[in-house]
Symmetry: C2
Subunit: 307 residues, 2 copies
């Protein structure tokens, strides 16, 4: 198995200034695995849904090479449900409803096949569940990435610090980097966070792009300026899925290749926000990816060799 992802598989109600979606398919593992499916043929997800989750969605995921033997389906129970609202500044959102449902007592069990995966993505969930999954790996994967959020820093900081000791890449946003480190400067925050465990820190800045910090080096990559962001839901997870999918495909996590992974991650996220929920990722074809890469090259590349 090239990549294993733990995270939510869920229903989302979404409202943005551009419109709304009800009972849309969502969840971190959904976005991560779908984005990664453009890069790897053989991945698994660890999650749980109720029997209300549409079977055709699950079949579609399997058709993309996403193994579902790690997805528990709880009969007679309801899937995780999130409702949120975005304002014009889509870097921030209001959570209106969080119904944990099946997630309340989620005890992940990794199928045997998953326990030797080289790449492991711990999507945003309780640090305890993230640690539980990590502990079920037979040997340390080649690369473990973890996504988390301010909520876990507020309510489970000790558990979060424990799991941070054992991972390689942390993805969080600016405010979370400041909260976790106690430093306002992102350069100083990165140094503090490196000492907590993660050798790589990705700071997601939404419309301002992302920063990758590693051993005193920094790589900065912008988001694509988009005329009309429809729905940013899942953009961070899609970014993570593109990042881990590209690394797993190339099986190379040199810093130079990590930069490329950030580029592909940004490409996938730029598609995600162009429509509601999973719609754009569902419509996306392989041939659109190199075209979007060219757009990012036009956006970022320059030549200053002559003074």
């Amino acid at each position: 198995m090239q990549l294993v992802t733990v995270g939510t598989v869920a229903f989302d109600d979404i409202e943005t200034p551009r419109g709304r979606a009800e009972r849309a398919i969502g969840g971190a593992a959904t976005y991560i695995s779908r984005a990664a499916s453009f890069f790897v043929q053989n991945q698994g997800i660890v999650s749980v849904v109720g029997d209300d989750f549409p079977k055709d969605e699950l079949r579609e995921m399997q058709g993309l090479g996403i193994d579902l033997s790690g997805l528990e389906i709880k009969e007679g129970q309801k899937s995780f449900f999130w409702a949120g609202k975005y304002h014009e500044n889509m870097n921030q959102r209001d959570t209106l409803i969080t119904d944990l449902n099946v997630l309340a007592n989620f005890k992940p069990v990794l199928p045997e096949l998953y326990r030797t995966s080289n790449y492991l993505m711990l999507g945003n969930l309780t640090p305890e569940v993230q640690m539980d999954v990590l502990s079920q790996m037979k040997e340390k994967p080649k690369l473990v990435a973890l996504d988390t959020m301010n909520f876990w820093m507020d309510v489970a900081m000790d558990a979060l610090l424990e799991v941070l000791k054992r991972i390689d890449v942390l993805t969080i946003n600016e405010e979370e980097a400041r909260q976790l480190s106690g430093e306002f400067s992102l350069v100083k925050a990165a140094n503090v966070i490196h000492r907590m465990g993660p050798r790589y820190l990705i700071i997601k800045k939404g419309e301002h792009g992302a920063l990758l910090f590693h051993e005193g080096s920094v790589f900065s990559f912008p988001a694509l300026p988009i005329a009309e962001v429809m729905d940013p839901t899942g953009a961070g997870d899609t970014f993570a899925g593109g990042f881990m999918g590209y690394l797993a495909r190339t099986n190379d996590h040199s810093f130079e290749n990590m930069k490329r992974a950030i580029v592909y991650a940004s490409v996938m996220a730029s598609f995600c926000v162009e429509d509601f929920s999973l719609a754009r990722l569902k419509a996306l074809t392989d041939s659109e990816i190199p075209l979007r890469i060219s757009e990012f090259k036009n956006l970022t590349l320059f030549d200053v060799n002559h003074w």
Copy 2:
């Protein structure tokens, strides 16, 4: 004359979380011309000071190739004074005091030599003064850039719109771009602003870098992540000075060369914030510039030729 700049020459009281400076040398034209002096040997400024302005500062400017025949010194009057305070998020600031002093009745008169300059920088001042300077040019300069702020949009929008019709490059921040255009999306804002006159729009995003919009193309360039920003005062003007200085030196405003100008602009701004007031720019040597360019290359360049 390679470049003419109109703007303030002033005293600043500055407070930031890193410290404070009192009666420091400041003003838009001061920062712009000093940054540009690393690129051009022959520039002039159009401004006004009182007889309280230190003569040795003026001599130092002249020593950098900054012609002061356009700088009026009003005997018995006081120079423009600004006091401001920054918080941890240095993208925003509180203005504590604005004493216009000599600036209250400023009627710029361009020396004959200035009226044929190829490059003209209209620093942040009343749109009426900016228009007055532009109207004194004998023929349309090769490139006119204008910096402005939300204040002029609030109190002098009609005059601002008039001068915008006659310029090539507008530099403003994100909020100002949204206010001026009435569009939240920066892509849409750029389209609206292009129709107002400026074929080039530079959106300054502080720690998030800058965007250059031109005829449907966009170039994104980050700010250098800095461990400790001492004082952001003048960073935007220093950026503008680096930009116009580089263009005036190379006398080429193709889009590719404008991208390079954005890189040099960012380099100059990255130095500016490393110390209070003009201190870092005063200490800066030519040989530090290519080193900083290399840092920006490491920060931004990538290679995705192999899939």
